[in-house]
């Protein structure tokens, strides 16, 4: 699929860097709290002063939990036709106090174990009405 024939699921949430894909969020320079997506203010009640800076997160993490979506969910969820159940994981990023949800890019959703190591990829969730690939962040086993 050519690049022009794909769109991001949403703007400003992920980026391709020289080191690979990253999630785009914020970090508070005062207390270190990490946010995804970007936050305008620090939500940590212990923090004395909001000082938000752009920050990239990823790519490695560990699966804190996982589920398989058994039925095709309604819009705005994107999936490829015909529907096959996909896995969603809860991922604790390595060296980062940030727990992120993301779709899992795996061949066999039944065989994913909690605790496994995963890495960030940018990949298609499925097609939109105009046949374009809808790209989002996903995690795949390392």
């Amino acid at each position: 699929m050519s690049k022009s024939n794909s769109i991001p699921a949403a703007e400003g949430l992920f980026t391709e860097t020289a080191d690979g894909p990253r999630l785009v969020g914020s970090r508070c320079a005062t207390c270190g709290s990490a946010y995804f997506p970007r936050a305008q203010a620090c939500h940590n009640p212990e923090c004395e002063r909001t000082d938000m800076r752009d920050a990239n997160f990823g790519p490695r993490g560990r699966l804190a939990s996982v589920t398989i979506q058994g039925y095709p969910p309604p819009a705005p969820v994107v999936w490829s036709d015909p529907y096959t159940p996909y896995a969603v994981g809860l991922v604790d990023l390595e060296d980062e106090a940030l727990r992120v949800i993301g779709r899992l890019r795996v061949d066999d959703p039944e065989n994913i174990e909690v605790g496994g190591e995963v890495e960030l990829v940018l990949a298609s969730l499925g097609h939109d009405d105009e046949g374009r690939d809808v790209i989002s962040w996903q995690f795949q086993p390392v």
């Binding site: 940590n44 009640p45 039925y71 969910p73 159940p85 605790g115 989002s136």
Partner: protein, 392 residues
């Protein structure tokens, strides 16, 4: 703060009523609560109502105003409260506070809702500034998927099995079959539950609550007023409302700060803690609890998180029958959300009605023997949590 009595309880059964207007459903609940209390509508000093997202309220959540117009416009103040699925119980807290403060003598608390078909999309917004919208658009994790992530964590941590999960649903219907207000009253075996469709692995169709229509009402009054009407009313021992904490480890949008201990609904833990403290009791002193079982997971996790039993102990208590009305830790003798389905903003009030009926020993075959003190607990979108303890 003055004492507050629960003088009247009323409910319209939960179900699907496509041909019945919401106002009719609510009026049945309100009239039942008034009749139960022996109070006429024009004696009601104020209304605290749950704002519905899905029905009535002139599209503005003015569901309390609809009820006042329906019952007779007496000029009384109306408070319409919004707290997602915790709205009914949130309205109860506001009603309680107004009576306890001496502002009003008699307050009607009411919630009623008619739900659209299918699983609810949690958020009502369709734009990229809404985290819930982004969660669906960029990942695709509907409500049951969120519960499934919590369930899988429990399975990894405590070895909870799919049979354990199914056993919660079996128990819910075992008690709910006796509740004429419940919608799903058929009995299931573990095998039936395990054969039902997989919704979000490991959660199956019979292990999560569908949507329903329904309404419930509670009439609150001051101690002086209660003594004119009843010799032995139910009392509000405490009522608490909370919101979530920053670091509880639950990703309500796309991400969160991981928790230090187990991820949990901090809004539930905080409101329950405040309610128990307000009532001057410990979690193990409760004779019964109506807790928000959107899915079987919560019936296992919540009692442990609140100190009703030890972490990892819920499955064995369930299998020993200790969570039945006749056990030593009765949970959801009404049959819970699994048997009622969810009329979102009315849920907190059906729970309070059940606790009230239990304390009055009017619950028939699902009665908790000798129940003297019980709690109702709910949570809602936005990190809203409520808990109230009733006693007699």
């Amino acid at each position: 703060m003055g004492e507050v009595a629960v003088l009247g309880l009323g409910m319209h059964p939960w179900g699907k009523f496509p041909d019945k207007p919401l106002n009719d459903i609510c009026r049945v609940a309100v009239e039942a609560a008034l009749a139960d209390a022996g109070v006429r509508w024009r004696e009601v000093d104020a209304v605290a109502a749950a704002s519905s997202r899905f029905s009535g309220g002139k599209g503005w959540g003015l569901n309390g105003n609809d009820i006042v117009e329906e019952m007779g416009s007496t000029g009384i103040p109306v408070y319409n409260l919004s707290a997602g699925c915790a709205a009914g119980a949130n309205a109860f807290n506001v009603g309680y506070t107004m009576v306890a403060s001496g502002m009003h003598d008699v307050v009607l608390v009411v919630g009623g809702e008619k739900m659209p078909k299918g699983f609810i999309q949690t958020s009502g917004l369709d734009d990229e500034t809404d985290p819930e919208y982004l969660r669906q658009r960029c990942v695709g994790l509907p409500g049951p998927g969120f519960w499934a992530l919590l369930t899988r964590q429990r399975m990894a941590e405590y070895g909870t099995s799919e049979e354990d999960l199914a056993a919660v649903a079996v128990k819910a219907h075992q008690v709910g079959q006796h509740n004429e207000n419940a919608r799903f009253r058929q009995l299931f075996t573990i095998e039936d539950v395990l054969k039902s469709n997989m919704v979000s692995h490991p959660l199956r169709l019979y292990e999560i609550c569908p949507v329903s229509d329904g309404a419930a009402a509670v009439l609150l009054c001051s101690a002086a007023y209660a003594r004119q009407k009843s010799t032995h009313p139910v009392w509000v021992a405490s009522s608490a409302v909370a919101t979530m904490r920053f670091d509880d480890g639950l990703p309500r949008g796309l991400a969160c700060v991981p928790s230090k201990g187990r991820a949990h609904h901090s809004e539930a833990r905080i409101s329950v803690g405040k309610a128990l403290e307000g009532a001057g009791i410990g979690a193990k002193d409760l004779d019964l609890v109506e807790l928000q079982d959107n899915t079987v997971y919560y019936e296992l996790a919540f009692p442990e998180e609140w100190g009703m039993c030890e972490p990892g102990e819920s499955e064995s208590l369930l299998h020993k029958g200790e969570t039945l009305p006749t056990g030593r830790m009765p949970i959801n003798p009404s049959g819970g959300f699994l048997c009622f389905g969810e009329a979102t903003t009315a849920q907190g009030l059906f729970q309070l009605c059940e606790v009230g009926w239990q304390l009055r020993a009017e619950a028939g075959p699902r009665q908790v023997p000798g129940a003297k003190i019980g709690m109702a607990q709910s949570i809602g979108l936005g990190g809203n949590g409520t808990a109230a303890v009733l006693k007699r």
